[in-house]
Symmetry: C2
Subunit: 302 residues, 2 copies
């Protein structure tokens, strides 16, 4: 069978217009850049996509817009997990209705200290509510934001209960041992790591791929890691890509939440200050922070 | 002017039917019981109301249903804060459209480690989007669930920027010093405490009232505290009410998240096991836990 999702996937950033609404044309360009620069697919509407700052209606419109812009359903794995199960179900059915069968799904994330039984029941209710065998869910483990960790036991239970449908995990803990634990679940379960520096190690352990924010800037380097991790003839190239990913990741994490820095880096790349726009509660980097960011990037490029 | 909200308000629990949809008739009965047993108003659709387990459409329907059931707009302060600002704005406008001017508002709660500037900008965007001078917002400070603390400086800035509209805070930190800090902001800013045992002390410090989960069971005791905290002739009655509130609160907090225990206590009170239903990720207490809960309540009643 093989993995239901694999390779280099991008947690696409969502550009905003002056009213802080999604800028569809600019998003189309970024999607095209990503697919032209090494990405196998687009994990639209994740944390980096500011998904949870958009209404259900806006999320649907963003997905429809990207498809209308020429991205194919097979190239997409949108985020669909919100706090309320009926809306997660609605977003998932909407994606399937457009032929998009892969989704990345946060657990309901308002209540904290919930039990594994409760998280299991949440996913079960969504899967049974969607009731579509085409569905391929990438569980989204990002406890730093969601407050709801997805542990190994829970994930193993979900795989056993919904084989095929529970198809993988995006692990954004940033902890190698965590991603390796998921790799140990074996079978066709696709481990997609969220931390660029860990990508090669996760591939070595049997992981399927990555979904990262830094891909918005360094997609070609992630491509090199994916293609060359097991090819001794490309060791130098691999080391260079790895070093670049580590450097850019570090810069992106140096100013609090990662997304404002990612957007500042995109603004810098495109010479387009509009990329700096974010919806509150996220805020653009200050002029001073952007100067510091620029200084650091020039050091990386040197 | 006086407080825009004061007295004993209930964080009403939302009963569910077998399909885990809101049970309107039972909710009407609970609202009636609360108003007949000492509550000045109903903070519908808070954490205890499982608000963030319902879709935007379901939340609107619940509010409309309670109004249709005979509760007046002045008796309501629904929760309207969700992760996406456009939906918080939509829910707030919906409430205002029904004549409900008081709302309890969480900050956007998906992203963590956001700045005070970011949270300020979030509330500003919502207030300016709603654009209705009738609006009275009770800020909802519940960092244990939301992951987004509302500090004193931030709240003072919001009051200064939107006087009258930023009308109060529900403080659910459970920390007396936190509630007292808010009381120190002075003026007509209404501090509504979320922890029953702290109610009298917060009133002594100039607080406006309470919004609590235990009210679902102990509304008459909260009424006694509110009416008698400053009346030496009622000291014995006050002490008894206070002791009951402390005991019931303790039982409600003894089994993980508070709501399953609150619902189990309501099931016990009404002889109606249906009250135990919750939407995942929250789960009903186990039979064993319910036995232990029953044992503890009998001790309290003794």
């Amino acid at each position: 069978m093989g993995f239901a999702i694999s390779g280099v996937w991008s947690a696409v950033a969502t550009p905003l217009d002056e009213a802080l609404n999604p800028d569809g044309a600019k998003l189309d360009r970024q999607c095209r850049w990503l697919l032209d620069n090494g990405c196998d697919g687009l994990a639209l509407l994740g944390t980096t996509g500011e998904a949870n700052s958009f209404s259900v209606a806006e999320r649907k419109a963003i997905l429809e817009g990207v498809l209308a812009g020429g991205v194919t359903p097979e190239q997409l794995a949108p985020g669909v997990g919100v706090a309320a199960i009926p809306e997660t179900t609605e977003l998932t059915r909407h994606a399937l209705g457009l032929g998009v069968t892969r989704v990345v799904m946060l657990p309901p994330f308002y209540y904290k200290n919930v039990s594994d039984d409760g998280v299991f029941a949440s996913y079960a209710r969504i899967i049974e509510g969607v009731a579509d065998d085409r569905l391929r869910i990438v569980l989204y483990n990002f406890p730093q934001q969601s407050g709801v960790p997805l542990g190994l036991d829970l994930v193993a239970r979900l795989i056993a209960a919904y084989p095929g449908i529970v198809a993988g995990v995006k692990d954004s803990t940033g902890k190698l041992e965590n991603a390796l634990g998921f790799c140990g679940l074996g079978g066709d379960f696709a481990v997609m790591v969220g931390s660029d520096p860990l990508f090669a190690q996760v591939l070595q352990a049997g992981g399927a791929g990555c979904i990262t924010a830094v891909s918005n800037l360094c997609a070609p380097d992630l491509r090199v890691v994916y293609d060359a991790w097991n090819d001794p003839s490309r060791a130098t190239e691999l080391a260079r890509a790895q070093a670049r990913l580590e450097g850019w990741r570090e810069v992106s994490m140096a100013f609090g939440p990662q997304l404002p820095a990612i957007k500042a880096l995109l603004a810098r790349r495109d010479g387009d200050a509009g990329w700096n726009r974010l919806r509150p509660p996220l805020m653009a980097l200050t002029a001073e922070q952007r100067q510091e960011l620029d200084r650091r990037v020039r050091t990386l490029d040197a």
